[in-house]
């Protein structure tokens, strides 16, 4: 828990949101919690960036939303992935993996060089 909290790189938040929402309809608060839990508290999502991102994704048609009751009986806005969102998630995941791989290659190379 003493690990420092990392800021998310530009553009990653959208990808993480899409991935979490893929698991099933979920409201904004739970999305933030889920990302924090799964990343073992490394990634903390600020609501200041979470909600604008959600609205942007909804507006682009990647997410759709519905007002439903939670387990506690209170109404909340539940997001789910649209077909367009699923396609987007697939392509973005691919390009993220490629990017990560490329960055790693470079980092490992420079380590070897400095030795």
């Amino acid at each position: 828990v003493t690990q420092s909290k990392s800021d998310l790189p530009q553009g990653t938040l959208d990808l993480l949101i899409l991935k979490v929402v893929l698991l099933g309809p979920i409201h904004g608060y739970a999305i933030a919690q889920r990302i924090q839990q799964i990343s073992r508290d490394v990634l903390q999502v600020q609501q200041g960036s979470l909600y604008p991102a959600l609205h942007r994704l909804e507006n682009r048609g990647l997410l759709a939303a519905e007002w439903k009751d939670t387990e506690t009986g209170r109404e909340a806005k539940f997001y789910h992935l649209t077909a367009k969102g699923q396609t987007q998630l697939k392509t973005e995941t691919e390009s993220w993996k490629q990017l990560a791989k490329a960055v790693r290659l470079i980092l490992e190379l420079s380590e070897a060089d400095s030795l």
């Binding site: 409201h27 904004g28 608060y29 933030a32 600020q46 609501q47 200041g48 909600y51 604008p52 991102a53 959600l54 609205h55 942007r56 507006n59 682009r60 048609g61 007002w67 209170r74 109404e75 909340a76 806005k77």
Partner: protein, 275 residues
């Protein structure tokens, strides 16, 4: 991003605001509940949640922006797409534009006519709200009332303060010496017509009932434009002779500038009493 969705979004702006508020409140309450579970006191839990949450208004503004900008973008793409489609299908575009232009032109013309005839009334007339127009309908359309019919109406009608007759005919009109005749429509009218409309003469006198008597010398009133164009606004025009279908008529006045009867045509060049 279709045109439908941005239109709907505009209409549902208020609902969007309500939902945004509810959504953020839900999140805030979730933070408070978590803090309580972690063992904080109620005020402490709220204070901490507020700190975690940051500026509520700022988050809202950014959400609106996230929607608003995409909304503008949507319009932009729709427009670009529309222009591209129009460019691709030239034939369709030209046909559509031609039809629209014709339709708009026709509408403007019809409206101009209607506006003059039905809505605006007679310019310079004092009480357009008290004027009524009467016409007769024939199978071939709406046209002229015969003068004897008008005299019968005038003798028997009781619902009107006064009735005046205005007819129209095309004549050859020339200066006193018979030179430079023009073929032009003129109004023929009962002597009381200008008085009824409340239009004052610029020069000379109005028609009087005596002008209507059989055997009375024919008289004419020139409109301002004709007086200006043909007689260079001669101040001694009153008493001058013009020829209407070669028969002499004495000019008794020149009309006030800008006077037009309720006809979409250009102002008539002259007005003679009905004979």
């Amino acid at each position: 991003m279709s045109s439908m969705s941005w239109w709907r979004r505009l209409a549902k702006r208020e609902q969007m605001e309500r939902h945004l508020d509810a959504e953020l409140r839900f999140h805030f309450d979730g933070l408070v509940a978590d803090n309580l579970r972690a063992g904080m006191s109620e005020p402490e839990a709220r204070r901490s949640a507020r700190l975690q949450f940051g500026g509520l208004e700022q988050v809202k503004e950014e959400c609106r922006e996230a929607r608003g900008l995409a909304w503008l973008e949507g319009i932009f793409y729709d427009l670009r797409f529309a222009l591209r489609s129009l460019r691709r299908d030239r034939g369709f575009t030209i046909t559509a534009i031609t039809i629209l232009a014709l339709a708009i032109g026709l509408n403007v013309t019809v409206f101009a006519v209607m506006n003059t005839m039905l809505f605006r009334g007679v310019p310079l007339a004092k009480r357009n709200d008290r004027l009524v127009y009467m016409q007769e309908r024939y199978p071939s359309g709406v046209c002229c009332i015969s003068y004897p019919d008008f005299e019968d109406w005038r003798a028997q009608a009781q619902s009107f303060e006064r009735m005046a007759f205005v007819g129209e005919k095309s004549v050859s009109l020339s200066d006193g010496n018979g030179e430079r005749p023009v073929y032009t429509p003129i109004f023929t009218m009962s002597a009381n017509a200008f008085g009824l409309l409340g239009v004052q003469p610029l020069l000379g006198r109005d028609f009087v009932p005596a002008d209507e008597e059989p055997g009375a010398p024919p008289v004419a009133i020139l409109n301002y434009r004709f007086w200006e164009n043909r007689f260079a606004k001669r101040p001694d025009i009153v008493g001058h002779i013009v020829r209407i279908d070669k028969a002499p008529a004495t000019v008794i006045r020149s009309d006030a500038g800008g006077f037009r009867l309720s006809t979409p045509m250009e102002t008539m060049d002259a007005t003679g009493t009905f004979r």
